[in-house]
């Protein structure tokens, strides 16, 4: 096959002609060619069609991007939701710990803070487990309090943890005193609430009266808020009246507690609460 002819002179002429054409346009100040003016209606029509196609095209891409953006934003919202919940938990924990610290600071007793690590769901037993044990100086029969009052006492202890018998447990018994009348009584657990034993019929008890520990049982220091009288029932028989007590502490939702490791009175608590 013979080699094809090449015409470099054509290229040269073309380049020179192009440059002359452009130079002429610039020199003459005609930066826009008259052909553009003549063809502008055609270009305008073409532009309308092209713009329509481009808008449709762009909208399609915008939709695709919007979907991806939507997915990403949903993920971010979920992440922020989780973070917000975490912050709420931290705030709530902070508030609880703050109350405990206040209690600890106002008390003359020596206390150790502990976190509740397990509860007991059985309705016949009201106990919980805390994360402090023998190695932290915890021993059996130490009093356990929450931010609002008495929670219970330690009934079993291991190296790393301890079990707390709540005051609402049927096996729990606490020596208590009416804060106003100073009358003594024994408080027994009754499931969700507590009952006061040996309250004489002649005693004038009203719902709302505060009950504190008397310290006479040798387990719970004196002056810890225990609860508020909820109901008083005069019995037809016997010499005592039936008093139902609502614990000061919300025992179902305890998350942090203080264990009183030494001290027989917490008189400052009593003062604070009165």
């Amino acid at each position: 096959m013979p080699p094809r002819k090449k015409y470099p002179i054509i290229l040269l002429v073309f380049v020179v002609a192009s440059l002359l054409l452009m130079t002429y346009q610039v020199r003459s100040g005609r930066l826009s060619h008259p052909a553009f003016g003549l063809l502008s209606p055609v270009f305008r029509a073409i532009n309308v069609v092209l713009n329509g196609i481009q808008e449709t095209w762009d909208d399609y891409f915008a939709l695709v991007e919007t979907e991806a953006e939507n997915r990403e934003l949903r993920l971010r919202v979920e992440k922020f939701d989780m973070e917000r919940n975490r912050f709420r938990e931290i705030l709530a924990e902070n508030s609880r710990l703050h109350k405990l610290l206040e209690l600890k600071g106002n008390s003359s007793c020596s206390m150790t803070a502990a976190a509740v690590i397990a509860g007991n769901s059985a309705d016949w037993s009201h106990t919980l487990t805390i994360d402090k044990g023998l190695k932290d100086g915890i021993a059996v029969n130490m009093a356990v309090i929450g931010a609002h009052g008495l929670a219970g006492r330690i009934y079993a202890v291991s190296q790393e943890s301890a079990k707390v018998l709540l005051i609402t447990d049927f096996k729990s018994s606490v020596a208590v005193r009416f804060q106003t009348s100073r009358e003594e009584a024994i408080m027994d657990g009754a499931g969700e609430s507590c009952k006061l034993k040996y309250v004489h019929k002649d005693s004038f008890i009203q719902p709302g009266e505060r009950i504190i520990t008397s310290g006479l049982d040798g387990i719970f220091p004196e002056g810890i808020p225990v609860g508020i009288v909820q109901k008083v029932k005069q019995l037809d028989y016997g010499i005592f009246q039936e008093v139902t007590l609502m614990p000061s502490e919300r025992l179902n939702s305890l998350e942090e507690v203080l264990v009183i490791v030494s001290g027989s009175t917490c008189i400052d608590i009593k003062r604070q609460k009165t």
Binding site: K6, I10, V15, M22, Q25, V26, R30, L31, I53, Q54
Partner: protein, 159 residues
Amino acid sequence: MSIANILRWVAVFAGLLIFQVITPAFRGVKPDFILLLVFVFGFKFGETRGLIFGALSGLILDIYSGSIIGPHFLSKGVAGYGAAWFPGIFFRENRFIITVCMIFLTLLDGAILEAVFNSYSPLGGPNMSSVLRQAVIVGLLWTLIDRICNRELIEEQHT
């Protein structure tokens, strides 16, 4: 070249022009489909026809842009000529060399546009960074075209 053939190329040109206008830019660069078409035309039909086709394509682009007539007229004309001339001095069936030639011609097209616009237009021309990216895109697309219709391109040259 028959009338039907000419009309076919005009239709392809119009279609690609529309496609180029509506194609969104990727990292600031749109594939120059018109330049690719000029390359294909020049490669198939030789220097003179390539130059004429390139110049006419450039002329339409210049008129469409509303600026001075010349920058695209010149750059696309040179590209059409070069698309036939460069493969002629190398072994045409060597795909790699041809692709390198097309990349070089894309750079040359960008360089001409930049030089002309900088000299004749107050707005200036494309920057070299976008010209380089354009060269890579055109190189890839040329490879694709070559893979798909290499036989047709080569056969056309011998007829």
